[in-house]
């Protein structure tokens, strides 16, 4: 399925270029979501559906949510308006429509295994909790450390001074 891969790759490169070149921060984040969706479609065409789903859920869902929250907390609306004008949606909407058409084509009109061989969630899970179980533990410790570190760094000065008292 080289055609699906090529179209998704072109969409990924175009939207990533727009992320880098857009002057408006919110527009850049909008294109970043499309770029992550395109890479998810690339994963699907490579026969990695589990990772494609995680790309959408974790990258385009959770990590982009963090970016949006940071944009709101930082109140950057002074230099770049948060309200996205309607014509700014056209570029991302076209690219997203291309990806949607690809996914519908891939799911409905062709049989699921697009690449030479599909490595499904079962094989990934067996590898993850077999030889790589130490890595899973390390990843959990890393995420806990990031959680505590982010809370400590972002805390206001008043909170930080009283941290030892209420602990």
């Amino acid at each position: 399925m080289t055609v699906l891969f090529t179209i998704a790759a072109v969409v990924a490169v175009l939207s990533t270029l727009m992320v880098v070149t857009q002057r408006n921060l919110v527009h850049a984040l909008l294109y970043l979501v499309i770029s992550l969706f395109a890479v998810a479609v690339v994963f699907y065409t490579l026969g990695a559906p589990f990772v494609a789903a995680l790309e959408v859920i974790v990258y385009a869902g959770a990590i982009m949510m963090l970016f949006i929250f940071a944009v709101m907390l930082l109140n950057v609306s002074a230099d770049s308006p948060l309200r996205v004008p309607s014509r700014a949606w056209i570029g991302p909407a076209i690219l997203a429509a291309v990806l949607l058409a690809e996914v519908i084509y891939g799911l409905v009109l062709t049989s699921p295994p697009l690449a030479g061989k599909t490595v499904g969630p079962v094989a990934v899970s067996e590898a993850l909790y077999g030889p790589y179980v130490l890595g899973v533990e390390l990843a959990s410790m890393l995420l806990l450390a990031a959680l505590i570190g982010a809370r400590h760094v972002a805390a206001r000065d008043g909170d930080r001074d009283t941290e030892g008292d209420d602990a």
Binding site: V20, V42, G149
Partner: protein, 102 residues
Amino acid sequence: MAAVSLDHGLILAAILFAIGFAGLLARRNLIVVLACIEIMLNAAGLAFVVAGARWGQADGQVMFLFVLAMAAAEVAVGLAIAIRFRQTLKSLDVDDADEMKG
């Protein structure tokens, strides 16, 4: 069966990584710099998945999961630093933080 070749996938990963790297060097907004780091990490993960798909093994996808967890941890700390940056320096321009203070 026209499978995607290893070269095409790695070329795509290299292009995405190069775009992210160029943005990292060129842009001065701290949020956009973090987004470019996300693009570069995503490209590295794409290279892992392409290599895993080439040999039909799950190891590439497992490594992508670790890259994913690391990216999430990195962006959480990075955005917390961005919030402190804004409070301290009243801007988001990374060039404003060119002085060190012990």
